[in-house]
């Protein structure tokens, strides 16, 4: 017993002496924040992204590999607004890492820096898996990305003041390119104003809001509840009366419900990358919006 304990301590001491690799180890809960950190810090950070565009960020489990990454993180960047409520608290408490606990400089919640929409007036689970502090999927409004970028850049400087100039230069360059891109996207998307679309989950609300699209229904009967046949046939009926231009779903959604509706209602089903990595073109944040707009614009030609 005692000898085992000594062995454990020895192994622990040996492993604790392992060197750190990059200036700032970033754990990003979602790919968009990983991509943003990369834009703002370049080689100054080593980014690990905990989820992919093919996963529903609500439903992640606190699996060992994620705990191991949070254990060594200097900065955890998450959306917040209860998006990661099922798994992030576990990662934080299991990690044994004081640097990234809420309230520390190493914990960054992106949704704090954007005005949230769809804040429920009534908070009750009979309405589905709703988020009391509003819709958390803020990243699909590029103006929110700019706001978060400002704050994140300041946070990087605070964590790594020695490289403040690098972060400032990179942030200025990003903001300039982003402003130009947003202007371009808004021009391109002028045709989308008022176009009715059906969504899968209400994860595209910020995009809809930004582009002035109109949400004409969702495949989920209630947030977080998978589509049911009765709800789908109800939407088919509604689409016969006032057809939408497209049925839009995210990369992590099962396409079957959208395809079912698409066939019945004769409306194209469009997969959107949702976040970085959701499609071949959505390789970074610019590609994400380029591809999202291209896919939406293809439906109104």
């Amino acid at each position: 017993m005692e000898s085992i304990f000594k062995l454990v301590i020895a192994v622990a001491a040996a492993l604790a002496a392992l060197p750190a690799f990059a200036a700032i180890n970033v754990f990003a809960c979602e790919p968009e924040w990983g991509a943003l950190a990369q834009e703002l810090a370049g080689d100054g950070v080593s980014v690990y992204t905990g989820t992919t565009a093919l996963q529903d960020p609500h439903r992640i489990e606190a699996r060992p590999s994620l705990i191991a990454r949070v254990r060594s993180a200097d900065l955890v960047i998450c959306t917040g607004a209860d998006l990661e409520v099922g798994w992030l608290p576990l990662l934080l408490t299991q990690s044994g890492n004081a640097k990234i606990q809420p309230g520390s400089p190493g914990f960054f919640e992106a949704s704090l820096y954007a005005a949230k929409i769809e804040i429920p007036k009534i908070v009750d689970r009979s309405l589905g898996d709703i988020h009391p502090s509003g819709n958390p999927h803020i990243h699909l409004d590029p103006r929110n990305i700019a706001k978060v970028a400002n704050e994140l850049s300041e946070r990087l400087i605070r964590l790594d003041p020695a490289n403040a100039d690098v972060y400032k230069t990179r942030a200025a360059s990003f903001q300039e390119r982003w402003r130009a891109a947003v202007q371009r996207w808004e021009q391109q998307a002028a045709r989308l104003r008022g176009v009715p679309i059906v969504v899968y989950h209400r994860d595209l609300s910020y995009l809809i809001n930004w582009l002035g699209l109109r949400e004409a229904g969702s495949l989920e009967p209630k947030p977080g509840i998978p589509p049911t046949p009765s709800h789908l046939s109800e939407i088919v009926e509604r689409m016969r009366r006032e057809p939408a231009k497209a049925i839009v779903y995210s990369a992590y959604n099962d396409p079957r419900a959208a395809e079912f509706l698409s066939e019945r209602a004769r409306i194209p089903a469009v997969m959107l990358p949702f976040t970085v990595g959701g499609s071949d073109r959505a390789r970074d944040l610019f590609g994400l919006f380029d591809d999202t707009l291209a896919r939406l614009l293809a439906t109104v030609k």
Partner: protein, 475 residues
């Protein structure tokens, strides 16, 4: 001379009209020059004044622009703030969640006569639920960060039978130790094996594996301290040590020994990681060592009298556990599969006191050694959203138990019927429907051969619902 005339003259002069064309005297010229100079000065003054006014207007406009910008940013700040969490007196309340569950059970054997043959009965209740409809234990959980150093959790279970509330878990844990260390203190589910740390509402079957029942008395919740360290490696690796009171089986007596120091220790380690894009795994090994004193159980002896026997000595338990989870691209919304297995091996050395109350043949004490093992393997498959099916196989091996009192001929093996060699097995099938993340309705069928010569066919129908704070998605 009025001004238009002067201007006309000036213009004429400027156009270079010859003096011969318009005849003017020197006197008049002087006068004209003076007037032009006066006019020039006058206009310069006016232009200056205009320029000043323009500058002022421009400055004012700039200020207005700045103010407008400020107002806009204030408005957007306000919007952000308004859209963030509400504040108030109850904003600091801990997260509260409540678990409700109820069960209907149809059993072919009387649950009151439940025992697992070949194994020393544990101190708590491990049998199936009462026949018919019954309310399960309700669970009430509170959890919150206490400050920047500590987090606190209290989970009370309210039993419907004796209307009593018990502390299932109540512990604090550190947040600020850093370097991968976490210290827990209080009452917590011991990190022995995998299933032991899972709360009942998150179980994949309605009951625990047979191995958990015989080796841990269903579940080991120790009063003690736990130090855990997570390695700074990409592959997950942790080691930990728990020192506890020994208040539960395999420690004993019930409630723990009357002594300073600790009555149980558990050393554990886990490794885990991802394989490919769709699979994750975790493996663990733990070693639980306790030194029970007068850990008693009841058993009818050869005369048919129920006598109380007690064990004192050392109990050592090794548990090897492994979990494999698969979901396409790790997206478990639609389909997923979970494979879980644990292997338990226990050795106990010490002495067994027969008939401690001298109710039958009189108190006798003899040596006691046993080497026992057990395992289970279970798989749960989610084939469409909301629906899962699962199968579990349980098998125990009572191994070799030697009793000094029997070997010396003082007593007969028939005086210790529950310890007679046996290999309990059980097959369990379940199907559950999960309309949302917060509710589950489960049907479970089992063929339980825990009892020698009596197969129990069980049908359980169960609901488990959670209210309040969002539950944790533990791996």
């Amino acid at each position: 001379m009025n001004r238009p005339q002067v201007m006309a003259l000036a213009a004429a002069a400027a156009l270079g009209m010859s003096q011969s064309a318009i005849a003017v005297s020197d006197e008049e010229l002087k006068d004209l020059r003076a007037q032009v100079r006066e006019m020039k000065l006058d206009y310069e003054k006016r232009i200056d004044a205009l320029e000043r006014r323009l500058q002022q207007a421009e400055a004012a406009a700039g200020k207005a622009q700045v103010a407008a910008g400020k107002a806009e940013s204030t408005a957007s700040q306000a919007a952000i703030q308004a859209s963030n969490r509400p504040t108030g007196e109850n904003a600091m309340n801990p997260g509260v969640s409540l678990i409700l569950n109820g069960i209907y059970s149809n059993l072919s054997q009387d649950p009151n006569g439940f025992r697992i043959n070949g194994f020393v009965p544990t101190l708590g209740e491990v049998g199936p639920p009462a026949r018919g409809l019954s309310l399960g234990e309700s669970e009430l959980a509170f959890a919150a960060n206490i400050d920047h150093h500590f987090r606190g959790t209290l989970i009370a279970s309210i039993s419907p039978d004796n209307n009593s509330a018990a502390i299932e878990e109540g512990y604090i844990q550190t947040l600020s130790l850093s370097n991968g260390f976490t210290l827990k203190a209080g009452r917590f589910f011991s990190a022995v094996g995998y299933q032991n740390q899972i709360h009942a509402h998150a179980w994949d079957f309605a009951d625990t594996p047979l191995a958990s029942k015989v080796f841990l008395g269903n579940r080991l919740a120790e009063d003690g301290v736990q130090l855990r360290w997570v390695a700074p490696t990409e592959l997950y690796f942790d080691v930990g040590l728990e020192l506890g009171r020994g208040r539960q089986f395999p420690g004993g007596p019930d409630g723990g020994r009357n002594k300073n120091g600790f009555g149980s220790s558990n050393l554990f380690t886990h490794a885990g990681g991802d394989v490919g894009a769709s699979t994750a795994w975790q493996a663990g090994l733990s070693y639980l060592s306790t030194s029970p004193r007068d850990r008693s159980y009841n058993d009818p002896d050869a005369t048919g009298t129920t006598v109380s026997n007690s064990f004192s000595g050392r109990s050592r338990l090794w548990v090897l556990d492994g979990i494999l989870k698969w979901a396409p691209n790790r997206n478990n919304t639609y389909t997923s599969f979970k494979l879980q297995a644990e292997y338990f091996r226990r050795s106990e050395n010490g002495s067994l006191r027969y008939d401690t109350a001298a109710a039958s043949l009189g108190t006798q004490t003899g040596g006691f050694t046993s080497r026992q093992s057990g395992w289970y393997l279970q798989g749960v498959y989610q084939f469409v959203p909301q629906w899962r099916v699962g199968y579990r196989y349980d098998r125990l091996n009572s191994g070799a138990t030697s009793l000094g009192a029997v070997d010396s001929g003082v007593l007969a093996a028939a005086d210790f019927p529950v310890l007679a060699h046996y290999t309990p097995t059980r097959h369990t099938l379940m199907a559950d429907w999960n309309p949302s993340e917060f509710s589950r309705i489960r049907l479970q069928l089992a063929r339980d051969q825990s009892r020698l010569g009596a197969t129990d066919h069980q049908v359980l129908l169960q609901y488990i619902m959670s209210l309040g704070a969002h539950g944790a998605h533990k791996f």
